[in-house]
């Protein structure tokens, strides 16, 4: 068309087939990180095992985590019972898997609660800004200052021990950091030129938040989520260990470790296996989270 067009030639080395999004780039970087990929696979394996293991055990061997066999009580690992049995003769492998179900469920639900509250609270504070923002953040500061254990003990005293309470208590604590992270991100994003550009194109506020701001905070949010899950699991284990969380006969990794710790001088396997699986899961989550962080951090390398 014009003289201006004639000067332009396609830059060499740019593949013109199909655009690669930042997500695809991040995925490519993540795949190169063997440790993170290995941990993710292992994590998926543990998750599947916990999800389906107990069911298989029930139909195949007629066992549940509550099937007691006092003849077998406290027997060490064998071909029959890989993880041994506990003091009531319950198969420890099945119990560990069932405990995993509870622990993972608590982790996922509490994290989801934290994610939901944290992201919406933080995004609102950051986007609205001004006085509303400072008030909202002072509330977060105050909640931060509350001693968590005291908070949970008070809750259990007031409402009795149940699982919903556990989710709520953990979620209520974990969303604070998420809210701070999201708010800080949104604060910088809302002043970016592409947000200004979107406004100048006549986009309404809600479209700007969902189309332009949320995708940009997703990276840090995902990373922080993977780091929140282990924190939540640790909290659950700590609470159960203290007798404030999951109650027998239900098991979670926390209660199993508690039982094991009581018997560890004579029956080592009761502590070793649940604690081993628990640590392995935490370890995997942390490495997968680290891998994700490196992959999603654009500054870590542009390849």
């Amino acid at each position: 068309m014009s003289a201006a067009t004639a000067v332009i030639t396609a830059p060499s080395g740019v593949s013109l087939s199909k655009g690669r999004s930042l997500w695809q780039d991040a995925w490519a970087r993540f795949r190169k990180n063997r440790l993170a990929v290995g941990c993710t696979v292992l994590l998926a394996f543990i998750g599947l095992l916990c999800a389906f293991g107990p069911t298989v055990a029930f139909y195949k061997f007629g066992m549940t985590g509550e099937t007691q066999d006092l003849v077998l009580k406290a027997s060490p690992p064998s071909a029959q019972h890989w993880f041994g049995t506990d003091s009531l003769g319950r198969d420890l492998l099945v119990r560990t898997l069932e405990g995993g179900r509870v622990s993972l469920k608590v982790a996922l639900i509490a994290t989801l609660v934290a994610l939901l509250i944290g992201v919406s609270y933080g995004a609102t504070a950051g986007y609205v800004g001004g006085r509303a923002d400072s008030w909202m953040m002072r509330v977060v500061d105050i909640l931060y200052a509350m001693p968590f254990m005291l908070f949970v003990i008070l809750l259990t005293v007031a409402f009795g021990k149940n699982m919903t309470l556990l989710y709520l208590a953990i979620g209520a604590v974990e969303w604070l950091t998420m809210a701070r992270i999201v708010r800080a991100q949104v604060l910088t994003l809302a002043r970016q030129e592409f947000v200004e550009a979107a406004r100048s194109l006549g986009l309404p506020g809600r479209m700007i938040i969902f189309r332009h701001i949320v995708p940009n905070v997703l990276g840090p949010v995902i990373v922080y989520t993977t780091l929140t899950i282990p924190a939540v699991m640790l909290l659950e284990a700590a609470l159960s260990f203290l007798g404030l969380g999951v109650q027998p006969p239900d098991s979670s990794w926390g209660t199993l470790i508690d039982d094991g710790a009581n018997n560890m001088e004579t029956y080592w396997w009761m502590l070793a296996f649940p604690a081993g699986i628990f640590s392995l899961t935490l370890f995997c989550l942390n490495f997968a989270g680290d891998g994700l962080r490196d992959a999603l951090d654009v500054k870590s390398g542009k390849d």
């Binding site: 201006a4 332009i8 199909k18 655009g19 997500w23 030129e193 189309r211 332009h212 940009n216």
Partner: protein
């Protein structure tokens, strides 16, 4: 010649902790169909705020439009509600920004962003909008638009992104384009291409353009009419030839003296002494006085704001005895 936008006596202030900053104080300007009106000034002279406030894009509070009118297509932009403004923005008035590297969302495909105004304002289906998007990219001289439209911003160079921004701004065929220093962040050769492109499209589509810049060389190239702003006020306004042939105000002259290309080799580069004044504490008289030479300072108004007068036909200047040079 029909006037597309007519701004009269616009006043914008920001109420900050340090006092009231009068960022725009009684600015009038108009843009005609198919013509380019330039706004020139240093950083902080209020040139961007003037345009942003027309579209309601300044943060309010602390910003506040304290007076004036902006006639655009039979309505006063300054009186429109936010939802009415949203219908004007991106459809009848579009903007291009300074830094093309940050004005596209890195997580969305270029095409998705490009067709946003079409989907929003014209309610087109995605496939129809995409067709128009490809055409728009072709129009701004992007090779292989069918493939490029599916790529992400980081796969485009700075100049290419600015072309995308221009395509996005013009895709709805607006009546007015506001270009906020569109070439400042680009290197010189790309600058030239982008300027040519804007001028070329303007001519073909007959749009009016408000061109904000601090670069007088760019002004001489693209503008038909120039407004020189200083400390939130107009100090001089004239057709481009007239202004460059006979700059009347000391500030305009000083700006022209500071163009490096016009200075003799081997001489130290001229810069205007001092800094732009603090807009929260403007002197009551001539705002340029502190930066004048001592003998001229003595002549400047100190008690009242110098009025804008028409010194010759179509040539307006702030009438301060110390600053104006009469023929």
């Amino acid at each position: 010649m029909s006037t597309v936008l007519d701004v009269r006596d616009l006043k914008v202030a920001f109420h900050t902790r340090n006092g009231v900053v009068r960022a725009v104080d009684g600015v009038s300007l108009s843009v005609e169909k198919g013509k380019t009106t330039g706004i020139v000034g240093e950083s902080g002279s209020g040139k961007s705020v003037t345009c942003y406030s027309l579209l309601g894009l300044i943060p309010m509070p602390p910003g506040k439009i304290e007076g004036g009118t902006a006639a655009f297509g039979g309505q006063d932009l300054l009186k429109l509600s936010e939802s009415e403004l949203q219908k004007v923005r991106g459809r009848r008035i579009s903007m291009i920004f300074q830094d093309p590297m940050t004005s596209l969302n890195p997580y969305l495909r270029v095409g998705t962003q490009l067709i946003e105004p079409l989907r929003l304002h014209e309610g087109l289906s995605k496939s129809e909008a995409m067709k128009r998007g490809v055409e728009a990219l072709r129009e701004v001289g992007i090779p292989n638009p069918e493939q490029r439209i599916r790529q992400y911003p980081h796969e485009f160079s700075g100049g290419m992104r600015q072309r995308v921004m221009i395509a996005m701004a013009l895709i709805t065929r607006p009546e007015l384009l506001i270009a906020d220093e569109p070439t400042t962040a680009l290197d010189v050769t790309i600058q030239k291409q982008v300027l040519d492109l804007i001028r070329d499209l303007q001519k073909r589509l007959g749009i009016a353009v408000v061109f904000i810049t601090h670069d007088l060389a760019v002004v001489s190239e693209v503008c038909d009419f120039v407004n020189v702003m200083y400390a939130g006020r107009l100090v001089e306004a004239a057709p481009v030839r007239e202004l460059f042939a006979q700059p009347r105000h000391a500030y305009t002259r000083a700006l022209m003296r500071s163009i490096p290309a016009l200075q003799k080799k081997g001489q130290p580069l001229y810069t205007i002494p001092g800094l732009p004044p603090d807009l929260a504490h403007l002197p009551p008289g001539c705002a340029f006085r502190p930066r004048q030479t001592p003998e001229r300072q003595a002549l400047c108004l100190t008690d009242r704001q110098p009025p804008l007068i028409e010194i010759s036909e179509g040539h307006w200047v702030q009438d301060c005895p110390g600053c104006v040079i009469r023929p």
